[in-house]
């Protein structure tokens, strides 16, 4: 068991290294000099050379990468060019905000998706099944930013029940869990929940239908187990995979929140990314992407490991 864990970790480490290297290289993908965003274009050659030495751009690539990585591991991701604040602070504050809507969205999506999926799987080819399939196709075909806009149109502009943008009257700095603030959460989280809902519904439907068609279920019923008992069995069998899918969806939401956060002006990591891109704030861009990507890899690892622990069918070691 420990051997399996260590091996899995050993597999994840080179991936993380590769991911870090890719993030690092993003700066060099950008057309033009990395200095372009720091210095005005008409800076003297002398100044340019000084800045290059200061930032270490004149050193070989590998050396730059190692230095950057070393600093990153110690928690130093540089400073935002726009705000001069440490990148790490900005990113982690934003991550907290994104997690709020992402976790809520995942919970909503998972609950409703599992519900639809169960109904569909149990009552195959009935109207419930058709409805659930319909919902799941919608879920994955909707551009979520468009859905966000539509919800804003309906609930904010027309009905005026919920606010359209922002993170509360005091901004993200002062958050309390009261209606004043929570109402800002609802629309973004709801919008984000659609894709996970669709995917969870589809997965659960397939799982439930598959389990119900297996012979051991016939055996259970033949031995007199009532429907409730069968239901518990089905849940037990679906749970590991369904939860794994949920975990992965949370990861995707964390990484892909930029569109929703732009629509709702929610001050999360996506919003931060948006700023970084348009201000060509490369340290901020690099740092944010690195944190998000590594988060995703770590989450995948966690989901894998948990699945192995809880699903007796998977071979370990």
């Amino acid at each position: 068991m420990i051997g399996y864990l260590l091996r899995r970790l050993g597999y994840a480490l080179p991936i993380m290294l590769g991911v870090s290297f890719l993030c690092f290289m993003l700066v060099y993908l950008a057309p033009g000099d990395p200095l372009v965003s720091i210095l005005p274009a008409d800076a003297s050659a002398e100044l340019q050379k000084q800045m290059m030495q200061l930032y270490g751009f004149d050193r070989p690539l590998i050396e730059q990468f190692v230095r950057w990585l070393w600093r990153a591991l110690q928690g130093d991701l540089g400073h935002s060019i726009a705000t001069s604040r440490p990148v790490v602070d900005e990113v982690f504050k934003a991550v907290g905000n994104t997690l709020m809507i992402a976790v809520l969205a995942t919970l909503i999506g998972f609950t409703l998706g599992a519900l639809f999926g169960f109904v569909a799987g149990y009552f195959r080819n009935s109207w419930g099944d058709r409805l659930a399939s319909f919902v799941s196709v919608i879920g994955v075909s909707l551009p979520n930013y468009w859905l966000g806009m539509v919800l804003v149109i309906v609930f904010s502009a027309q009905l005026m029940w919920l606010p359209a943008t922002g993170a509360g009257p005091g901004g993200s700095g002062s958050w309390t869990w009261d209606w004043e603030h929570v109402q800002y959460l609802i629309l973004p989280a709801l919008t984000m929940s659609f894709i996970p809902m669709g995917i969870v519904a589809r997965t659960v439907r397939a799982l439930v239908a598959d389990i119900l068609s297996q012979e051991f279920v016939v055996g259970l019923r033949a031995r007199g187990l009532g429907e409730w008992g069968v239901f518990k069995h089905v849940v037990k069998n679906c749970a590991p995979t369904a939860l794994a899918v949920m975990g992965l969806q949370l990861g995707y939401l964390l990484g892909g929140s930029i569109l929703i956060e732009t629509v709702f002006s929610w001050p999360g990591t996506g919003f931060l990314l948006n700023q970084a891109i348009f201000q060509r704030d490369l340290p901020l861009l690099q740092g944010t992407i690195l944190v998000l990507a590594l988060f995703f890899v770590a989450l995948n690892l966690l989901v894998d490991v948990l699945q192995t622990i809880f699903d007796p069918r998977i071979e370990r070691g």
Partner: protein, 356 residues
Amino acid sequence: MKPTHSARDPRDLGGPRQPLLSVRELKKHFPLKKTGLGLRGPRLAVRAVDGISFDILKGETLGVVGESGCGKSTTARLLMQLTPQDSGELVFDGLSLGSPGLSLRDYRRQTQMVFQDSYSSLNPRMTVEDSIAFGPTVHGVSQREALSRAHDLLARVGLEPARFAGRYPHELSGGQRQRVNIARALALEPRLIILDESVSALDKSVEAQVLNLLQDLKQAFGLTYVFISHDLNVVRYMSDRVLVMYLGEVVEVASADALFEQPLHPYTAALLRSMPTTDPLRRTEQAPLSGDPPNPIDPPSGCRFHTRCPDAQAICRTRTPVFGEAMPGRSVACLKYEPGSGYAASTIALKEVPHA
């Protein structure tokens, strides 16, 4: 394809006394994936084939028998070079495989195989005639000529070309597919055909037809067969000589009749006793072989069979028998027949005389 049994094959090099294929000390181990950190202890491996040597004579059918896991299928794959061996040599009609005289490509023209699963051995996307014609086209035969040959072969194996050539594998029954596989094997005009459990998956009646077909083809084309099977009755029917394998090693080789009438190796004897029979005078009171075969990763010391052998003695645990000729035409790997091995022969004598 015209050669008949009596005419000499123009490709024949060494004459009838030279073995068609001589297998020398073939070894194949499959290393296991690392467990734990894999850093401690020697790397374990499944010793699938552990140094086997035997000859396949021209024009014979050599049957190969043994339990599951004894290495039969690995041996078949090694003979076809679908898996390269770790060590050991294959000598085909006097030429060593890999030497300048015999390239892998030339070898593959002369040795072909018919697999067990008739469905998975045919490309589901190719028609029957295309599957058969593929081999010849690889070796330079024109498409037209290859298809024509395919049609001839289909007719030869009993499938009417007009009806079957344009069909896909899923449209045929198991027996028909196996005939197609045989036709495909024949398309390259080989001298040696390896039949790896080729009839095991067929219904009995179909099996009988295919076996008879195989006998006909052997006569007509002067073929040599290696017939691998777990069905001892079929092996007896088809084979001239029989080779018995146990846990990656050859334990006995003899002519079919001799082997079935008087098995020398205790394992062979046990195998034969486990054949079900409808003769009321031959009743089985005890299971002839007990337990599962030992682990090929860590085979028993000395003679590998000693853990299940009814005639085992203390010496069998420490001394490994040598595979040698016990009588003319019969080879066996058992300490009983090895002079000077330390095996107490008197026990045999004791058994034959119940009352002292």
